[in-house]
Symmetry: C2
Amino acid sequence: MPSAFEVIAEPNRRAILSLLAGSERSVGEIERELRMTQPAVSKHLRVLRDAGFVESTIDAQRRVYRLNPASLQEVEEWLAPFRELWSRHVDALERHLDRMTPRTQTRTPRRRR
Amino acid sequence: MPSAFEVIAEPNRRAILSLLAGSERSVGEIERELRMTQPAVSKHLRVLRDAGFVESTIDAQRRVYRLNPASLQEVEEWLAPFRELWSRHVDALERHLDRMTPRTQTRTPRRRR
DNA sequence: CACGTATATGCCTGTACGGGTATACTACGT
DNA sequence: ACGTAGTATACCCGTACAGGCATATACGTG
């Protein structure tokens, strides 16, 4: 079974997820909004479902897919250590700019902390 | 050129990144710590470098690789909308638990906000 | 200059994956 | 019961990619 990272490596799957982040959709709706063929949509949804990214309920012939918000947690957790590094990097850049920039110049809005 | 998502889809590349998150390393060090063959390490580093995830400097015959902290920003940004959904989901779960849980029971530590 | 160390690259191979087309399956309406 | 809408799956094909091995390249040391 592919990892969450491999699942979101595919651009069309990311597009589907972004779409579902707005609201739930049927297969046909995804097909039309993303201009993909129906089998392609179904296959990607299969992968997304197996990986726990989406869930579906049945409405007559339609299957309505919605996001499973907990699914991106694996990615979140892997990313956490780097986030810390990144914020340190931003801080260092800020200090650097503070040193290089004349105090009297036109201010750009400060980052909130 | 592959997207950041495709780059981090590969488990060995994620391992390399995690390693470099600790501190910079030479190719040989990565090779030994991750028990990969040297060409494999070099190839993954090539991909990581082309995608801006790492940078290298030369120390005699060695190439020392270090993380580029800005590189994961693309992933961060794509993830942002889902993070909001996820926190809403956690909140909803909390409210649900609050309703279901007798006030007098043994308390578990509250989540910090 | 010869040799060893450290790293990069070229070539080959197996394999996994995404897309397309056709088809199967299921539920609804008439 | 039949036709149709909606979705899933099977099969085929092309391709991209990761790994392994061999080799090239660059630097240091004697």
